[in-house]
């Protein structure tokens, strides 16, 4: 029973991975691509690792999969935030259809 639930979790994670990578190819802008790809792929890979834990049980591989989930969920948003901040400060233009840019307004308000 645990193995069937684990395979369902892994299928869910594979679907999220493939949709995140389609967003990485198809969307028009750096910030849109970052927003689509980072969230979808982080959730998808966490789901694959949780399915691995359900299949392997409380062995060495299962507990290492849980440790890897914790590490991934802690580090992936930090990396995405650093990329977005660096791209905005390096002067990468927004897409023409974007309507608002709060970070630029904040920097102009400080100066």
């Amino acid at each position: 029973m645990n193995s069937i639930i684990g395979l369902v979790f892994i299928s869910f994670g594979l679907a999220f991975d493939i949709f995140g990578c389609i967003g990485l190819v198809r969307l028009p802008d750096v910030y849109n691509r970052l927003q689509a790809a980072t969230k979808c792929v982080t959730l998808g890979t966490s789901s694959i690792l949780f399915g691995t834990f359900l299949i392997m049980g409380f062995t060495a591989a299962g507990l290492k999969a849980l440790l890897c989930i914790v590490f991934l969920v802690l580090t992936s948003p930090v990396a995405a935030h650093a990329i977005a901040r660096g791209a905005h400060r390096a002067g990468v233009k927004l897409w023409d259809g974007s309507v608002i840019d709060r970070y630029k307004e904040d920097k102009e308000g400080e100066a």
Binding site: D17, T45, I83
Partner: protein
């Protein structure tokens, strides 16, 4: 021109789905391992996602696109290591995943600092 690109994309997507649904397994696996019917199809899906990330690394207009694609490629390879752990039952594949996560995080932070154009110690 836009219509031609749409048609090429749809043909590639249908070809990959047909490859996944096909009864033939990947050639590098012997059929005696547990969950091999599932794991072979999962490997096709993850490799297709990695090829899309490589397209964005090759074609990305700015440097930030390439850095995003490298980060996503690292996270996908952790999933690949987890799927290989299920099939073979050896726990050192997930060790490779943990080490890859650490290295990918630190390299992404360093590349974004480089993109920002400042020193590393600020």
């Amino acid at each position: 021109m836009k219509m031609v690109r749409w048609i090429i994309g749809v043909v590639i997507f249908i070809a990959v789905i047909g490859l996944i649904m096909m009864r033939k397994l990947p050639f590098l696996f012997c059929p005696g391992l547990p969950y091999i019917e599932f794991v072979g199809r999962a490997l096709y899906v993850i490799i297709f996602a990695c090829i899309m990330c490589l397209y964005r690394i090759w074609k990305g207009p700015t440097g930030a696109d390439r850095i995003v694609a490298i980060d996503i490629l690292g996270i996908l390879i952790i999933g690949l290591c987890a799927v290989l752990t299920i099939s073979t039952g050896r726990s050192w594949y997930i060790d490779i995943g943990i080490a890859w996560a650490l290295q990918s995080f630190i390299s992404t932070l360093a590349l974004s600092k480089y993109l920002e154009g400042r020193g590393f110690d600020e």
